[in-house]
Symmetry: C2
Subunit: 185 residues, 2 copies
């Protein structure tokens, strides 16, 4: 009991929750190496890489269309803030990365809004940040969505998720500029 | 000759020239592990780390007052530019990093101007970027300055470097806010 009472106060951790969807996720096991619904603690000094190569990436996608490193996340602190923020950078020469409605080419970077939609190819990742006190560490958590995240009423989600979802995001649109439908999202 | 003629056109590389100075550089060999006057080619996808730990840093300073990782550089491309740019992030919890006259605390980051002065503790690093075409690789080059870089007339260098230089930057000022003399620099 005394060791409990004398221990340092535990700091809450900033958590980046990532809800992922890919139309081919079920049969192909694209996300098989990602552990869903468990939080992973990472040092905030380290770059977090996403892509195909398990040698260099923290999180991998089992998909030949994905670049060895597709994109990276950097932790940083804004000058006017006391909590951690994220920066995202497109590390792929072949595929654009779309953050909300902004298209990032190779080595383009932006600061991530607290809630935003990331897309590349047929991948959709809804990123939501939950603030914590610690500056040394942060957490990640993955959730698998059974349906497309690009529904009207879902992103931005003013209304509850509808029972039946109709995807407006198909393979052929994956790296092309914004479509009329998407402007409404 | 034909292999020479058929080879891909060589792309020029962006070069970051770093002129370094520390008042204790001579007797203490602070910069002994840095190769001066030779360009090193690095992949632009990789973060470049500076600090005390040779395990994680690309460039190390032999100095116990330096953090294991003091700061890092990231390559990126601005949306309105075709060439590489650098971002700097303070990775030290203990020491502030000063970029020109802006103070960066732990995990603060800024985009580097093409020519700027970096300071932490008694260290001075004048960083100068020379643009190249390649986006895949860039180069670094270190130059050792025999005298302080914080002279009037030297930074910013409107005039030639004077023969005799008087340092306005001493140990006691290393992490404190700007002094009157420094505002003139």
């Amino acid at each position: 009991m005394s060791s409990f009472e004398d221990a340092d106060t535990e700091e809450t951790l900033t958590c980046l929750q990532m809800t992922v969807y890919h139309p081919g996720q079920q049969p192909n096991g694209i996300f098989q190496s990602i552990g869903f619904h468990k939080r992973e603690k990472l040092p905030s000094r380290e770059e977090v890489k996403f892509g195909r190569s398990s040698k260099v990436c923290n999180y991998t996608f089992q998909d030949r269309q994905v670049s060895r490193v597709q994109f990276s996340l950097q932790l940083f602190k804004k000058f006017d803030s006391s909590v951690l923020s994220f920066e995202i950078k497109n590390m792929s020469k072949r595929t654009s990365l779309i953050v909300d409605n902004r298209t990032l080419d190779f080595l383009h970077k932006v600061d991530l809004p607290d809630r935003c939609m990331i897309r590349f190819g047929d991948y959709q990742i809804l990123m939501e940040k939950e603030d914590g006190v610690s500056l040394e560490f942060f957490e990640t958590e993955f959730i698998l969505s059974p349906r497309s995240l690009l529904q009207k009423n879902y992103w931005p989600p003013q209304n509850p998720i509808p029972e039946y979802c109709h995807s407006v995001w198909s393979s052929s649109q994956s790296t092309s500029p914004m479509e009329t439908d998407e402007n409404e999202l």
